[in-house]
């Protein structure tokens, strides 16, 4: 147990370091982008005078490193600051978006993870059969279409032709859970198609990899049924690589869904970040990237912890 705690603390510290590095990269990356918030917001309407006034109003006339330091101080004291563009509290701004993003990601994960495991296990069980080939080809095909394209195809069939689900998912906070699920069905399905192949292939590969191991031969020689062999003996040992891939895909579901958000008009965090980058709203970009990075780091950390917890060698040292 102390062992795990040590790993967790260590990773946590490294995670903070990573966050710090990212905040630096993002700040100065956005800083390097041509133009700033004043120019971006005024757009075609920017003249040197108006831009100057706007900059002063925003505090953009101060040097970048000073702004970064004050941001860092705010962050350290738990204050995310306010959006430059509309002066709203970033925590409030992001709060709604984040919960939407997590809702969609969670929904997609709730479909895709069990589905991927199920398909992967079956593919491992019936490897090199027609079923295996069909599932493999189908999933490969589904990941070789761009996300927006998958989305459009789903919209064509399920929204336009069949009319089962809405073509856009403008969820708002006051919707009931059922309504929310109904409205986000298509984006969740799109995401599922996008991530399921990777997880399914990994599940299959990890299990097949283990099927050659002596202890699997041993249980086969104990006369245990093939399904039980996979569920009881192969799966627990294949968990570490599977969990890793699941973590990567979960991170993707939270972090990488900008395009699905655009297509389905889903008010998520990705859209917020893209908007803010293009408007150079640095505090919001910072906050978003911190959240994304934290999600990534936390998911990886939990994958590591699950790997440890499911591995008796690490959990119960001699």
């Amino acid at each position: 147990m102390i062992h795990i705690l040590k790993i967790v603390t260590q990773r946590f510290a490294l995670g903070l370091l990573t966050l710090f590095a990212i905040s630096l990269i993002i700040t100065f990356g956005v800083e390097l982008l041509p133009g700033d918030l004043a120019e971006a917001i005024l757009g075609q309407g920017a003249t040197p005078e108006t831009v100057k006034v706007f900059r002063t109003e925003l505090g953009l006339d101060k040097p970048a490193h000073l702004r970064y330091l004050s941001w860092l101080y705010g962050m350290a004291t738990g204050d995310m600051g306010v959006s430059l563009a509309n002066k709203r509290e970033i925590s409030e701004l992001i709060g709604i978006r984040l919960s939407n993003t997590i809702f969609l990601g969670g929904f997609a994960a709730a479909i895709s993870i069990p589905l991927a495991l199920f398909l992967g296990i079956l593919a491992a069980l019936y490897r090199n059969t027609l079923y295996d080939r069909v599932v493999n080809t189908f999933t490969l095909t589904s990941i070789s279409f761009p996300e927006f394209f998958v989305a459009y195809i789903l919209i064509l069939f399920f929204a336009i032709k069949l009319g089962w689900f809405p073509g856009i998912s403008n969820v708002s906070t006051n919707l009931s859970l059922g309504d929310k699920l109904y409205r986000s069905m298509l984006p969740a399905a799109t995401l599922t198609l996008v991530v399921v192949a990777h997880m399914m292939r990994m599940t299959r590969a990890a299990i097949i990899n283990l099927l050659a191991s002596p202890y699997i031969e041993m249980v086969r020689l104990k006369g245990i049924s093939p399904m039980k062999i996979i569920l009881r003996h192969a799966l627990p040992n294949a968990l570490a690589p599977i969990v890793n891939v699941v973590a990567i895909n979960l991170a993707y579901l939270v972090v990488g869904v900008v395009i699905v958000e655009v297509v389905f008009v889903y008010p998520g965090l990705g859209q917020l970040m893209v908007d803010s980058v293009s408007k150079r709203d640095i505090p919001v970009v910072q906050a978003c990237s911190m959240i994304f990075a934290s999600v990534y780091i936390l998911l990886n950390l939990s994958a590591d912890i699950i790997s440890i917890v499911t591995n008796p060698r690490l959990l119960h040292p001699r």
């Binding site: 966050l19 590095a21 993002i26 990356g29 095909t141 761009p146 996300e147 927006f148 394209f149 900008v258």
Partner: protein
């Protein structure tokens, strides 16, 4: 069987890509007729929004897309696997530093990262290649490092070290040949992710320079037609999908060949 199919597809694609100017009925950028003409003898797959021959665009697209995807994937593998192996072979602080850098890069959403870089430096082909290469290389690094770790503990690597071999030999001759199989498997998937990434970028307006044809951008340009049950966008998308499936068939077969025989003892 499926491997033969894969090889056949890749072969056809390569021929099309290499000999595009001789195969295509019209030029890549030639504006011929009206917008969105239907399929006809003159234009076998109709014309695109500017009245360019769709078939010719597809054929030249093969050239640009495969060329781009291939060079990005190869570069990413060179960069990623080399650094990954160095991290595994040297361990210690070198490994720590490289791994942390990769962690940082991977924690930034890749689209955002690309958006930043390409907006700063512009979307010329070299920057496009460099950006996607770096993003892809981080994934390759993780894989290369993890697999190389398993090789590094082998006695034959120890033999080489005790012999006094330099890092370059250990990586080139001892580690690399033994991790090619998993790297190859990843290559197949990465290759297709590059297409997808290019098309996602062109969704955000950062793809390849016009008027060059590439499948990713072609999918994007015509994607809106699909909701009106027009199959035009399915052509480039299908071309990508077919290639992806074919490449992965070959990779699966290679993997099976290299690992399958070990099962028999």
């Amino acid at each position: 069987m499926s491997a033969k199919f894969g090889i056949l597809v890749v072969l056809i694609y390569s021929i099309v890509a290499i000999f595009a100017p001789f195969i295509a009925p019209y030029g890549e950028r030639e504006i011929l007729g009206r917008s969105f003409e239907l399929w006809s003898d003159k234009y076998p797959l109709g014309t695109d929004n500017l009245g360019r021959d769709m078939l010719s665009r597809m054929i030249f697209g093969a050239r640009n897309t495969i060329g781009l995807a291939l060079s990005i994937t190869i570069l990413a593998f060179l960069l990623g696997s080399l650094t990954g192996m160095i991290a595994a072979a040297l361990g210690g602080w070198v490994d720590q530093i490289l791994s942390r850098i990769v962690d940082v890069l991977m924690s930034i959403p890749s689209l955002i990262f690309a958006l930043l870089i390409l907006s700063i430096f512009g979307t010329s082909v070299p920057y496009l290649i460099a950006t996607i290469t770096v993003i892809d290389a981080t994934r390759v690094f993780r894989l290369a490092r993890a697999t190389a770790m398993n090789v590094v503990v082998m006695d034959y690597v120890e033999v080489a070290r005790v012999r006094g071999e330099k890092l370059d030999w250990v990586i080139r001759k001892e580690i690399l040949p033994n991790i090619t199989a998993p790297l190859l498997a990843e290559f197949g998937l990465r290759f297709c992710f590059v297409f997808l990434f290019i098309s996602a970028l062109s969704f955000l307006g950062l793809g390849l320079q016009p008027p060059s044809a590439d499948w990713g951008s072609m999918v994007r340009d015509n994607a809106s037609l699909i909701t009106f049950e027009d199959i035009t966008p399915l052509l480039p998308a299908g071309a990508i999908a077919l290639l992806t499936v074919a490449v992965n068939f070959i990779v699966d077969w290679l993997l099976h060949k290299s690992s399958g025989l070990k099962d028999v003892s």
